[in-house]
């Protein structure tokens, strides 16, 4: 099948065959095996030959600690199911053990996932590819010192950090059914990364991702959240995705885009209550492909492995601008795709709780938030004239930028509040970092 010249993109694909052999544990819904199933579909559809296929090196300790804390990564490295008992306290601290179990080969698995995203970012930076795909990655819930939602290391943050060396503005879009909290949190206070997440909100993991969460400080209005309800269909989703993302691209003008293609927003997912089919999900990928910006496509959630494989194979075909037959090719995991043995899913008949009125309101508010964002922030800071200081949101900035020879403006003086931690006198210094109100208590006690 001839490839259209004008639509041609160099697509790099990162995969390591070890990844399918890691097992989270008996009965756990996250199955790395789905990545292997995706790979086999890609191969048997004949898409492999049009890709550039790389096996990334596992990420090193130093690479991963560019975001995560050292003691967290050390823990991941040294703890194993055999020596569990030595690590009870740390397991609690790092939230490992229940949702995020300690399984055999966990550290290697994280290395592969992160390695793929790092390799993808470097490939894009060097302009050796237009689209870079890493289905092993997309684990967006992991935090700096904490595992969460089946994610241990946040390969997305690591990849974006790499991209930021060469790209002024990076856009992160998350179409997983869960809120992309790990990535949003990491970049909550910066304007160089804009995070946009479409997700189910309301009595749903992880509990963050409200409309009103837009970022703080320099990052204010550089985080967007689109909360949705159960049962959203392809048309409804695109009716809100397209206008918002068009405006984002227009205003923010990112020089690189990272798309997390979590497949749990599909119909029939074990955890996700949405009703998307491959067409609606894949339309998000083709939306960005058309913009011709360097694009990184990552995996993510997806708890019905056969649908995950279908979705990501289809999106690989989209990246290559290739059409693939609806009848699945015979492959090593063919029996998993019964009883239809077809690629595309039928949309479910469940109720779509997102009324058009609701979607319209959400869209309006999101676009409002977007309006408040400064268009295309440049990296250099401009010297701020004195009289503009009083309108600044970031109060410390006002203080820093003010003319040192003149007394601080009254608005700054008034808003200057002693930091809570100033009187921090607790014994837990360095260890009990989560306890934010310690300073206050200590101050009250000593007063």
């Amino acid at each position: 099948m001839p490839v259209k010249e004008h639509g041609k993109r160099r697509v790099a694909y990162f995969y390591d065959s070890n990844v399918g052999n890691y097992y989270y544990g008996q009965g756990h819904v996250m199955k790395p095996h789905r990545i292997r199933m995706t790979h086999h579909l890609v191969m048997n559809y004949g898409l492999y030959r049009e890709l550039e296929v790389y096996r990334p090196f596992p990420a090193s300790f130093d690479e991963m600690t560019k975001f995560h804390s050292e003691d967290y990564i050390n823990f991941l490295k040294t703890a194993s199911p055999d020596n569990l008992k030595l690590y009870n306290k740390q397991m609690l601290k790092f939230n490992v053990g229940e949702d995020c179990p300690l399984f055999d080969g966990l550290y290697e698995f994280c290395q592969l996932s992160s390695g793929g995203s790092l390799a993808a970012a470097v490939k894009l930076n060097k302009q050796k590819a237009d689209i870079a795909i890493n289905w092993m990655g997309g684990l967006h819930h992991a935090k700096k010192s904490e595992a969460s939602g089946f994610c241990y290391t946040n390969d997305i943050v690591l990849g974006i950090l790499e991209l930021l060396k060469y790209h002024k503005r990076v856009l992160y879009v998350d179409i997983d059914v869960h809120h992309g909290d790990g990535v949003e949190e990491a970049f909550f206070t910066t304007d160089r990364v804009m995070t946009v997440s479409f997700h189910k909100y309301g009595d749903f993991f992880p509990g963050t991702g409200e409309l009103k969460d837009v970022g703080v400080g320099k990052g204010k209005y550089y985080s967007l959240n689109v909360p949705l309800k159960d049962g959203i269909t392809d048309e409804a989703y695109q009716s809100i995705f397209k206008p918002i993302m068009t405006k984002v691209m227009e205003k923010y003008q990112p020089t690189a885009v990272v798309l997390q293609c979590g497949a749990d927003s599909l119909h029939g997912d074990r955890l996700g209550p949405f009703n998307l089919t491959l067409k609606g999900h894949g339309a998000c990928a083709s939306f960005f492909r058309d913009y011709n910006v360097p694009l990184m496509m990552l995996g993510g959630g997806g708890y019905t492995p056969r649908n995950v494989a279908r979705c990501w194979a289809y999106e690989t075909a989209i990246a290559l601008d290739r059409e693939v037959a609806n009848v699945l090719p015979y492959n090593d995991y063919f029996e998993y795709f019964g009883p239809t043995y077809k690629l595309h899913l039928d949309p479910g008949t469940g109720n779509n709780e997102n009324t058009s009125e609701y979607l319209r309101k959400v869209q309006e508010q999101v676009l409002n938030n977007l309006d408040r964002m400064e268009a295309a922030p440049s990296v250099q800071m401009q010297p701020i004239p004195d009289d503009a200081i009083r309108f600044l949101n970031d109060t410390s900035l006002g203080q820093d930028m003010a003319n040192p020879d003149v007394r601080l403006h009254r608005s700054i003086m008034d808003s200057h509040v002693q930091h809570e931690g100033e009187f921090y006198d607790g014994e837990n210094e360095g260890d009990d970092r989560r306890n934010e109100s310690n300073g206050r208590e200590a101050a009250a006690k000593s007063a």
Binding site: N21, Q26, G105, V122, D181, D213, P329
Partner: protein, 349 residues
Amino acid sequence: MADEEHSRSAASDEDEEFDVPDDGYDDEVTLDEEEALGEGAAGADELAALEEEGEMDIEELRRRYGYGMPPETANGTTSIEEVACVEIQTEVASTSSTLNLLSYYEHHGGDDEEDKDYIPYDKKEPRVDPVLYQITVPDFCTSSNELQRDYPCTALWISSNKLEDAMLQLIQEQMKAKNPEIRLENCSMVLASKCFQSDNEDLLFTILQVGYDGEAALKASCENKIQHANLPINTWSRSYSPDGDCEHDVAFSNEEKQMFDVYYKEFGKNFLQIAQKFPERKMGELVEYFYRYFKRSARLEKYVHKGYIKEKDCIDVAENIRQQIKTAENRKSKDMSSLWEGTPTKDLV
């Protein structure tokens, strides 16, 4: 922790659609028993009390049943009205700083019989702290040093226009060996045929290694030197040696298959424990065997035997599937291996 384990394993792994047989039988035995006890008078009181409750204010109701002040919830009204029948372990919800995704979903089955108090999933605020949570964004890099940086990867396949030529060459050489009068069109037809739709990553890797030279690739295959492209080194057999002389396709022997059957029945999907019984095999191998061979045959049986397919169609469909598999395998092994001998067929069944 033990409860978690139990509830997780209780949720079965089978992820195909099936209808729970529901013939609408409504068990009213207990109601009948109660009536038989003859509580006529008590019954009347009960009815009066229920009527009263119906008129009552919700606050009074709460106080009567000892709920005190209503909890502050983000969506206060909906939490009371919703009858979603979910029981959530409250200790988990309130004490752990990050919520337990799995345990929440284990109980959220849709098969709950009775109304329990509905506690909404806690709303969380975004956390801000430059040391604990956020990352300091590195400076925009202008030095060329950083841009030179390369992330180490092994190139397994780079697409190229030269591929078609290489493939044609390969086919031509192979077919010529059998029939010297072969023409190019025949080879193109073979190339366009269905058996070449699917990609063999080992073959493509070899073609890459020899610089897209069809002849050299053929030579490599004839000399049994097809290199494996993406072997699962960490998670596979210890007998693997990186020089290429690997026993990658060391199939599970019949004894091993039987052992696996036995231990699977005993331990379930606890591959760590099963792996202890297979000293020569790594856990990853067992996982792969499970997904690729064990489960597939089991799945086939399930589709045939569990009544998803009607009895009269039963044999036909199964036979159909078996036929499809057989012809696809034959086609694959016949065309592929006849064209390049020596490619190990991945036939571990």
